[in-house]
Symmetry: C2
């Protein structure tokens, strides 16, 4: 999905109270839920102990951006202090963890949040045990199953929030739509990568459908739907805020994937380039670079063996073509658009303030 900067951002200025408070509560909800699943899982297959531990690890990381947007979507639409909202919001983090696990299988990624990706962990387990058959295919199979498990748990956790049948019904409708959209958006991304047409417009469309909706617009609207049956006006404002902000967020992720510090991203430097991701950043670079530079970029993209020097060369092409600067300016423009939409949004003042903080947290350089 490429939609999650890996840093926990715990100590940075980009970790505002709006995020921190939600993260603590959501983390608690996730821990309690996993604790409850343990006997069911291990009662069926005690062999899954290490798999559960890997899921624990995976769920420890992350900023909990989607949960935070869900929570503030609720507060903005008039939702009160019912602790169930943290449970419902936490469900979005299970959904996201599932997406990360399956994405890493699809992309063949080796690392996630500074650790081996889940399928690599399972492959290693296979190799260490000296089991029969292909360690790679064992790892892939196990990770597909773990991603499925996380996906199933999304609903279970969501419905366990005790926010009332009507509220859950309204929220679940949007949660379902959001999931269908993100799967369709991811397919679109696969097709765009395969087609390799690589226009800026196509890349922006993918960013909007795959990331902006899934990370910001829909989580906000799920929260609003949980809060009230009359969330139309808030939901519309959340679209006006969420779609540009989500696009800016994806652009920031793209930049971090190429220019980011591995300590911050949790991935080896240049991984996105080695995987050949056709991001908006790359599309802009290809459109603006001279013929020789564009040819070099095309040749290098997706070469899994790029060394440090070659990576630096690719970064220079992107930067010299003005793509880095243009991305930064797009991020600024989209973020401003989002903040402007907040001004007259029919939401509570506290939420308005929090959403302004979250806009910075989601798009700032320090991830």
């Amino acid at each position: 999905m490429g939609g999650s900067p890996a840093s926990r951002g715990g100590e940075t200025g980009a970790d505002p109270a709006a995020l921190r408070h939600v993260r603590e509560q959501v983390t608690r909800a996730l821990e309690a839920f996993l604790e409850g699943q343990r006997p069911v899982v291990l009662g069926t297959a005690g062999e899954l102990g290490p798999g559960l531990a890997a899921i624990d690890d995976l769920l420890t990381g992350g900023k909990r951006l989607r949960a935070a947007f869900c929570y503030w979507g609720w507060r903005g639409a008039g939702g009160g202090s019912d602790p169930g909202i943290f449970t419902a919001s936490a469900a979005l983090e299970l959904l996201h963890a599932s997406a990360l696990v399956h994405d890493d299988v699809m992309d063949g990624s080796d690392t996630r949040r500074g650790r081996p990706s889940l399928h690599r962990q399972f492959s290693a387990r296979h190799s260490e045990a000296g089991w029969h058959g292909s360690a790679e295919s064992f790892g892939r199979g196990a990770a597909i199953l773990m991603g499925d498990l996380l996906l199933c748990w999304t609903d279970e956790l969501f419905h366990s929030s005790e926010l009332g049948a009507e509220a859950l019904r309204r929220g679940a409708r949007l949660l379902s739509q959001m999931r269908t959209e993100v799967m369709a958006g991811q397919y679109l991304d696969l097709v765009e990568q395969a087609r390799g047409t690589g226009t800026v417009d196509a890349a922006l469309r993918v960013a909007r459908l795959k990331t902006a909706r899934y990370t910001i617009e829909r989580p906000l609207q799920v929260g609003a739907a949980l809060a009230t049956g009359e969330a139309e006006a808030a939901a519309a404002a959340y679209s006006r805020y969420g779609l540009p902000l989500g696009t800016a967020f994806q652009l920031r992720v793209d930049l971090l994937g190429v220019f980011g510090d591995p300590a911050q991203t949790g991935k080896p430097a240049g991984d996105d380039l080695r995987e050949g991701k056709r991001t908006v950043l790359v599309a802009i670079a290809l459109a603006k670079a001279g013929p020789a530079e564009a040819a070099l970029l095309t040749r290098r993209l997706g070469d899994p063996l790029l060394d440090a020097e070659e990576l630096e060369e690719v970064r220079s092409v992107i930067s010299d073509a003005g793509a880095l600067a243009e991305c930064e300016s797009l991020i600024e423009r989209y973020t401003s658009e989002a903040l402007a939409a907040l001004e007259d949004a029919p939401v509570t003042p506290g939420a308005r303030q929090a959403l302004a903080e979250l806009a910075v947290a989601a798009t700032s350089r320090i991830g």
Copy 2:
């Protein structure tokens, strides 16, 4: 999952009214649901048209065994003629379709229900379009996403059944548990295959956890929980009936996978042997065969290039060792045990009759 005989069984004596009636209603519910998803999916990514068509195709096949058990579990526990039960039961078929799609990716299977498996269909699309990158990895990625989509839709369809908030809450709790158990059971299967210890006990444990619960016991109990808050006695009877019957069902699937007619199974003859599946049948054969025959069996199992003659040789080893006969006798014994459990089960007479018919349908040679 290896848990679905592919035949539609439409014309055979093993397609009793108990199954036929449910199938028609469930098929209608699935069609209506897919029709409703179409605009959401295509509105996000029009490119997914062929993917939806492939899902349509996949959902056309199958006996709808799981839906039928859910429906009769409901009826047996006193559930009435509310049409919502067909909708809720249909959700289990979406879950199963998701499992089939992901299983085929995990096993690298080429065919499903007589057609190319979903990942092969997507790979072919990639090749035909002359897209960039690996067609295989595109197909795998797209199929993972389609399986995820089907898995998400399970809940959406289940909760759209309008059976009332309390009933849905009870049913969803069991549905969740069932999904967690099946994922854990599948992982156990992966580990058992990789370990290759291949004892009969280990294979029976996998059959019970992965298939018997998922195909029969839990669907019955989901139906019962939807029908009433006082389903304890019925649920216990469903376990006594469902666990042995489900084990017999898996043994029948194992036999069909080795000795079945491709026209009936929808898979090339001997596919299970080429994939090297460590079934109960194989475990029995390995335990009973002489050293030379066991060595031949071990050598041939999992060889993807086995030709017709070599397959026949493997079949002879299994059959001559007495494993075929022992499997048939186990099927008979487990089925009798299930039928005996029905006799004093606290369920309605109509359901008792239907479950007796389903026991035959799930385990008879004509699949």
